[in-house]
Symmetry: C2
Subunit: 730 residues, 2 copies
C-alpha cells in the first residue's frame, strides 16, 4: 500500500514576471527539496534564462534596465556574475589583482534579486588550474564570491567544471556546504562534449562525462541538491553517452537542475527564418527535461553582441520544445502511461521521490482516511470483481447448487471488496436466467480492526440489507470458530493483503492460518503472487535515506520504531526506543514513487507464494538473483515490485514492464544498500535475500556480491540482521 | 537584534462553514504549534462551539442534520462524544457493560469531521474513581475511545478532570502521547470552581486550581500542546484565583486552548432580552482570551433541552465579547501598546513564542535582507538622530569652530546611522544661521563586513556625495591607523552594537578597543546601557527549549554550533561538531517574542556599561539578584531586557515597564533554567550570573538559589560552564 505519514508543505507564494509560474517559487521548491506545486498551479511553460556575458555590453549598476530588456525578449531570469561583469571578465595575470566585487544590492529589491537573477562565479576562476598562481588566487577569490552570495538574496550560484578532476574546488565547496548555513544552491555545469574536458598528458582516462560528474559529487560527499546540483551544457558536439538513451538516462538519477544551451547549436534559415535544434539535441533535451523545476539557460559564447531578434527566437524555440513535451506528457498521462512524463503530470506529485514507511496493517489499525484513499482505486476493484465472477462460475459447478456457497472476505477493512462480491453475484444472476433459483452467496466478513467494524456494520445495515455476517477478530483465530461448528467452511476466500513487495504485509502468514478449515475445492483470491527486484542507480534516493537519520526529536523519542525493539518507559516518566547501534535507516524497506532513478537491469522474480497452501510449505525463503550491468554506473539499491494472479487470467502487476494500467494503490518498494557502489561495465551483481520468521514477526536480511570483469569479488555487509531495523510484526 | 533563522510554513487552506476563518485551519495551527495566520487572513471572529449532550435529543447517525441545525444557530463546530451519545450517557453500574462505540465515519466526509466536530471522552469514564470497578472499567474503555479517535479524522478530544489528583488518567495519556503517533490533541478541562474538585477526606490540600492542573501536566511529563492542552470551564462560582489578575495571568503561561462556558452563568432579562455575563466572568474571559485559536464552547448542564432562541443568544454574546476584545486590541496596537492584545494584532505574529538564536554580528557577516529589516525601525533611528543633534551642539561648543569635528560610525552596516548623522548636521545648520560657516562634519564609516562595504560605497556615491571616508576593517584595528596619523582622533563615536540583553553582541569589547585614541572630550553614542532580568513562568517556552534537542540531521551535523566548539572534518570528508556532553540547549540564551509567559516579579538591573570607558574598567561582571515571588508558581527561567542612554535624555528601553513606544528592533532575551521549579508563595529567588571573558570570546554562566519560607535553600546546577553551550566569539 502506498500511504505513509507525510506532511505536505504548501502555499508557496506566486510572483509574476512574464509568465504565470513563479521562478522564485520553483527555485525555493528545489531548495526545499519538496515537490509541492498543486495541480491547479501547474501551467507548463518553463522559465528560460539568459546567461549574461561581457558582450552584452552592460554595467554592474544597470541590472534593472538589463532585466527589463531581457523580459521584453521573453526571458524569465538571467545568470549574472555575482562579483559583477567587470570582475568576471578580468583576464587573469600573474601578480595581477582582480577587480573587487562590485554588484551593489540596493539597485534591486530583495525579492526581485531572488526572482530574476541567479549568480555565477567569475569566469576566470579556476581553483584547479595547472598554473599554481592562478589556482591559489582562484581559491582565495572564490571564497569571497561564495561569501558575497550569502550577503545577496540570490538563491542559485552557477559554475563550470573545467577539468576532469577538480579536487580543490570540491574541497572548498564541501567545507562550505557542511559548515555554513548556505542559503543558496550551487549548480555545477558539465559540457556534453568530452573534448572540452581533455585528458591530461599523463595518460588514459576511460571515464565518461557522467562518471566525471559522479566523481566530483562523491568528492563533495554527495551533498543533497538543496546545496549541490548539476547542469548540462549542450554543446554542438555530443559525446556518445548523450546519443544513447540507455546511457543518458543515468542523468535521471542525478540532481539535474539546468541545461545551458549554446546558441551555436541552433540552426536558422536566414535571419527571420525559424530557429531549430539538431535532432539529437532535440531528443536529448526532450528526454532529460522531466520537470519545470529544471531551468534552461541560453548562452551565446561568441564575443559579438547577439542580435535581439535571434535572442527572442532562441527562447521561443526552447519554450516551444517544453510545450511539446507538456503536450506529450498530458496525452501519456491520459492514456495511463507515465513513462518519460513530466513530473508535473504524475498523479501524486507530492510523493515523487519521497520515502514513505510501509504500512503494517496487521500490527496497526488503519484510519478512516487511509481506507478512503485506497478505496478510490477502481482499477484494482474492477479486477477483483472480474476474478470473483470467474470464481463464482467455477464454484457453482463444484457445489452443483446442492448447498450455499460460503464466501469469506478476510481483512475486510471498510468493505470495498464485499461490495465487489455482491456486485459479482448480481452479474452472475443477471446472465444465468436458466438457473432454478437466483444464486445467493453466504457472506462472511472478517476484520480485526474494531473501528472499521463500526463502518462495516453501518454499511451492512444501509447498503447490504444486513446480508453479511460480520466477524470482529483476527483471521488467525477464525479456524477455531469453524471447527467449533459456529461457521461453515469457506468455498471462496477473498483478501487484499499485499504490499509493494508482495508478501511484506504478511499475506502468506495470514492466509496460511486458515488452511486447516478449507475444503479441497476452496478457491483463494489471490491465488498466487511473486515479488520482483531490479538494481537501480539513484544518488537522490541515497541522500534521502541518509537524511532519515539522526533526527529524532525529544518528544518523538518514544514513537514506534520500524525495527524489532519497542519503546520503554524511562525513570522520568517519558518513553524512548532503546538505543540500538546495529539499526540503520539503510536496512529498512521504503515505499517510494521513484522518479530520480535509473534502472540498471530488467526486474527478476524473488519470492513466490501460492494459495491455498495445502502442502503447508514454509513461508521462509532464501534466494540469490544475478544481474549483469552493461554500463558505467552506481548501484544504490533495488526497486521492489510484485505481480499477483487473482484468479484465472486476472492479473495485477506493478512491475514497470507489465504494470496494470491505471493501478495506483502501490508505489514500488525500495531496498537500499548502505553505500553507493561504482560499477564498471559488465559487472555481475548477485543479490542475496532471505525472508525470516520467528514467533513475533517476519523480516528480510540481504547483502550483495559484485564480480568485476577481472573476476574480483566484493561482498557488502549483511543488512537488517535479526530484523533490528525493519521488522514486520505478526 | 531580533532576527533569527526561521522557516515559515504558510498557506493553510481555508474551508468555510459560517464564517471566514477556518476552524480546521486553526486547529491545525495549534497542533503544528506554529503561528502562521497571515495578516490578511485574520478576521477576528472566533469560532464558537456547542457541547452536545443527551438532552439535545439526537442520534449518533444524524450528525449531518445536527451540524446544520447548530450552524443555523451561528455555531461553528460541536463537541460530541467520540463513542456516540448513547455510550456517553450510559449510567455506569458494577458488572454492567457499556454500550459499544458506535459513531459511524461514513455519515460525514473526512474533511468535514475535522472541520465541524471535536470529540469527547464518554462522560461517565473516570479512571481515578474511588470505586475500583469503575476505575478499572474506565481504564479499559478510555483506551478504546483514544483508539477510535485515531481511526476517525477528528483533531481534538476533550475530557474533564474529576479529581484533584488523576494519576491513572495521567499514566494512560502519557503512554499514548509518547508511544503513539497521535493525530489529535487532548484538551483537559478544569472548573473555575474549586468546590467541584473537593479535597478528599484524608486531609489538607492548599493547592489552587492552577496548581492542580500544573501537577497533572507534570505527571504527563509536560508534553507539548500539539498533544496536551488545557481548557477552563467557567462555572457560576469563581475561585479567588480567577478574580485577581495577578493570579489568573499564570494561565497565560499555560497551553490554554479553550473555554467551556456554562449556560447557567448567562443572565438574561426575559426570553427576548439581551444575554449578558456577570462582570467578573466577563473580565476573566476578556483577559484570558488572547488568540482566536482559543475555542470557546457553550455548555448547557441542565437536563432540559435548551431553547433555540437562547442558544443563539449565547453564541452571539460570546462572539460579541470577542469582537470587543478585537476592537480593544486594534486600538492598543495602533497606539503602540501591546499589553493584553490578541496575538493576531501583534506586529510579528509568526515570531510569537518562537525561539530564535541571537545573532553574532561580530563573528558572522549579516546579509542584505537582515540589514534591510533592521533599517525599517524608524523609532530607533529618530532617537539616534535626536541624540546626535544634542551631541553636535555640545561638540561645537567644545571645539569652538577651531577645527572640524570628526565623527566615526563604528559598525556602519549599510549606513542607516550615517544617514542620521548627515540629517543631524542639516538640522543643526538649519537652526544655526548665526554661525560663520555651515558646520561640515568629517565623516568616517568603519565596517568589517566587506559585503556591506559594497553597499556603503554605492550609497556614498549616490546619496552622500562621496563625503564619507569608508574604512573596511574591524574597528578593533582602528587605533593603529589613528596612531599612525592616517586618521584623526574622533570627537564623536556612534554605534549600534546592542543585543536583546544589552552587551550580548559584545558592544563593550568593541567600543573599548578604541579607548586609547579618544580625546578626553570624545562623546560616545550610546553613553551607557544596562541589562535587566525578570523571573518568568512558562511551560510552553520550557517545552520549546526541550524541542531544540536531539534533532541534528545528517547533513546539518557540521553547521555552526552556538557553543565554544567548532565543526571538524571527519575521515569520510564530511564535517561535524565534536560531541560535547556538557552542552545543553537549556544553557543557551534565546531571543523570543514572549507571549505564553507570566512575569513573576518586576525586572531588576543586571550589568551596566558606560562609554567611553576611560578608566578601563574590566567588562567581566558577577552579580546576584534577589526576587520575592508572591504566589504559587513555577519558575522556568528569566526574561532579559536592556535600556540604553544614547545621549542626554535620549533613552532606548525594551524593559516592559518603560518600553520605548514603537521600538521593534529587539525582542526580549530568554535565559532558561534546566528544569521547571515549583515555587511556594513567598519564595526568595536569587539569580547568580557571571559575564566571563577569554581571548576567544565572552560567555555567561548562571545558576539559581531558592529560599523557601521555611528557610530551606535549594541550588540549581551551574549553567553554560566555560561557554560550551553559548559562546559569543570575539
Amino acid at each position: 500500500m502506498i500511504l505513509g505519514k507525510k506532511t505536505r508543505k504548501a502555499g508557496l507564494c506566486n510572483r509574476h514576471w512574464n509568465i504565470n509560474l513563479s521562478w522564485s517559487a520553483v527555485v525555493q521548491m528545489c531548495q526545499e527539496d519538496e515537490q509541492v506545486v498543486q495541480a491547479s498551479d501547474v501551467e507548463i511553460s518553463a522559465l528560460v534564462g539568459w546567461m549574461a556575458t561581457n558582450s552584452d555590453g552592460i554595467h554592474d549598476t544597470d541590472i534593472v534596465e538589463y532585466c527589463s530588456r531581457l523580459g521584453a525578449r521573453n526571458y524569465n531570469f538571467m545568470n549574472y556574475p555575482i562579483g559583477g561583469m567587470k570582475r568576471s571578465s578580468w583576464c587573469p595575470e600573474k601578480n595581477g589583482i582582480p577587480p573587487p566585487i562590485d554588484l551593489p544590492d540596493l539597485q534591486l529589491d530583495v525579492k526581485l534579486w531572488g526572482t530574476y537573477v541567479i549568480g555565477r562565479i567569475s569566469d576566470w576562476i579556476d581553483c584547479d588550474a595547472n598554473e599554481s598562481w592562478l589556482a591559489d588566487l582562484s581559491c582565495i577569490e572564490i571564497e569571497k564570491e561564495l561569501n558575497y552570495m550569502t550577503y545577496m538574496p540570490l538563491r542559485v550560484l552557477t559554475l563550470e567544471l573545467k577539468h576532469r578532476d577538480s579536487p580543490k574546488l570540491a574541497e572548498i565547496l564541501t567545507k562550505w556546504m557542511w559548515t555554513r548555513n548556505m542559503t543558496y544552491s550551487v549548480w555545477v555545469f558539465l559540457p556534453t562534449d568530452e573534448n572540452l574536458l581533455p585528458v591530461t598528458d599523463c595518460g588514459q582516462d576511460i571515464r565518461d562525462i557522467w562518471r566525471i560528474w559522479a566523481d566530483f559529487r562523491s568528492l563533495c560527499t554527495n551533498y543533497p541538491m538543496q546545496k549541490l546540483a548539476v547542469g548540462l551544457r549542450l554543446c554542438p558536439n555530443l559525446a556518445d553517452e548523450f546519443l544513447e538513451p540507455r546511457l543518458y538516462k543515468r542523468w535521471h538519477a542525478e540532481p539535474l537542475c539546468s541545461f545551458c544551451i549554446e546558441t551555436s547549436i541552433f540552426t536558422s534559415s536566414g535571419q527571420y527564418g525559424k530557429c531549430t535544434l539538431p535532432p539529437a539535441h532535440y531528443r536529448l533535451l526532450m528526454d532529460l527535461f522531466v520537470s519545470v523545476v529544471q531551468r534552461p539557460l541560453i548562452h551565446c559564447n561568441s564575443s559579438e553582441q547577439v542580435d535581439e531578434h535571434l535572442r527572442l527566437q532562441y527562447v521561443n524555440m526552447i519554450k516551444q520544445l517544453i510545450q511539446e513535451k507538456a503536450i506529450q506528457s498530458k496525452e501519456a498521462a491520459l492514456a495511463g502511461s507515465d513513462d518519460n512524463v513530466l513530473f508535473e503530470y504524475l498523479g501524486h506529485r507530492e510523493y515523487v521521490d519521497t520515502l514513505q514507511m510501509p504500512l503494517q496493517p496487521l500490527a496497526d489499525n488503519l484510519d478512516s482516511g487511509t481506507y478512503a484513499i485506497f478505496e478510490e482505486d477502481s482499477v484494482k476493484y474492477d479486477l477483483y470483481r472480474e476474478a470473483i465472477c470467474y470464481a463464482i462460475e467455477d464454484l457453482v459447478k463444484i457445489t452443483g447448487e446442492e448447498r450455499n456457497i460460503a464466501v469469506y472476505l478476510l481483512g475486510a477493512g471498510r468493505g470495498p471488496l464485499m461490495q465487489m462480491i455482491i456486485e459479482a453475484e448480481e452479474l452472475f444472476n443477471a446472465k444465468s436466467c436458466n438457473r432454478r433459483d437466483l444464486l445467493k452467496l453466504e457472506l462472511y466478513s472478517v476484520e480485526k480492526n474494531a473501528h472499521a467494524v463500526v463502518t462495516l456494520q453501518f454499511r451492512n445495515k444501509h447498503h447490504w440489507k444486513d446480508r453479511v455476517q460480520i466477524i470482529e477478530g483476527d483471521m488467525r483465530e477464525l479456524s477455531e470458530k469453524v471447527r467449533a461448528g459456529q461457521l461453515p467452511s469457506p468455498d471462496l476466500v477473498v483478501s487484499e493483503l499485499l504490499g509493494s513487495f508482495g508478501d511484506n504485509e504478511l499475506s502468506p502468514e495470514c492466509l496460511d492460518s486458515i488452511t486447516d478449515i478449507l475444503r479441497s475445492t476452496t478457491i483463494s483470491i489471490p491465488q498466487q503472487y511473486t515479488s520482483y527486484i531490479a538494481p537501480i542507480q539513484s544518488v537522490r534516493l541515497h541522500q534521502k535515506v541518509l537524511c532519515c537519520s539522526g533526527g529524532t526529536k525529544y518528544f518523538e523519542r518514544g514513537f514506534p520504531g520500524r525495527g524489532r525493539l519497542e519503546p520503554v518507559k524511562l525513570q522520568d516518566g517519558t518513553y524512548a526506543l532503546p538505543e540500538c547501534p546495529e539499526a540503520s535507516q539503510f536496512d529498512e524497506i521504503y515505499v517510494v514513487c521513484m522518479r530520480s532513478v535509473c534502472e540498471l537491469a530488467k526486474p527478476k522474480a524473488v519470492f513466490n507464494f501460492e494459495h491455498p497452501n495445502f502442502e503447508r510449505k514454509s513461508n521462509a525463503r532464501s534466494v540469490c538473483i544475478q544481474f549483469t550491468i552493461d554500463m558505467q554506473s552506481e548501484l544504490m539499491g533495488f526497486a521492489g515490485y510484485f505481480t499477483a494472479r487473482l484468479y484465472r487470467n486476472c492479473q495485477l502487476s506493478i512491475v514497470p514492464q507489465t504494470h496494470t494500467k491505471g493501478l495506483v494503490s502501490w508505489f514500488p518498494a525500495l531496498i537500499p544498500l548502505r553505500h553507493l557502489y561504482r560499477l564498471q561495465k559488465g559487472t555481475e551483481v548477485i543479490f542475496h535475500v532471505e525472508r525470516k520468521i520467528d514467533t513475533r514477526g517476519v523480516w528480510y536480511e540481504w547483502f550483495c556480491e559484485f564480480q568485476n570483469v577481472d573476476g574480483k569479488i566484493k561482498t557488502t555487509p549483511l543488512q537488517n540482521k535479526d530484523g533490528m531495523s525493519y521488522f514486520m510484526r505478526l
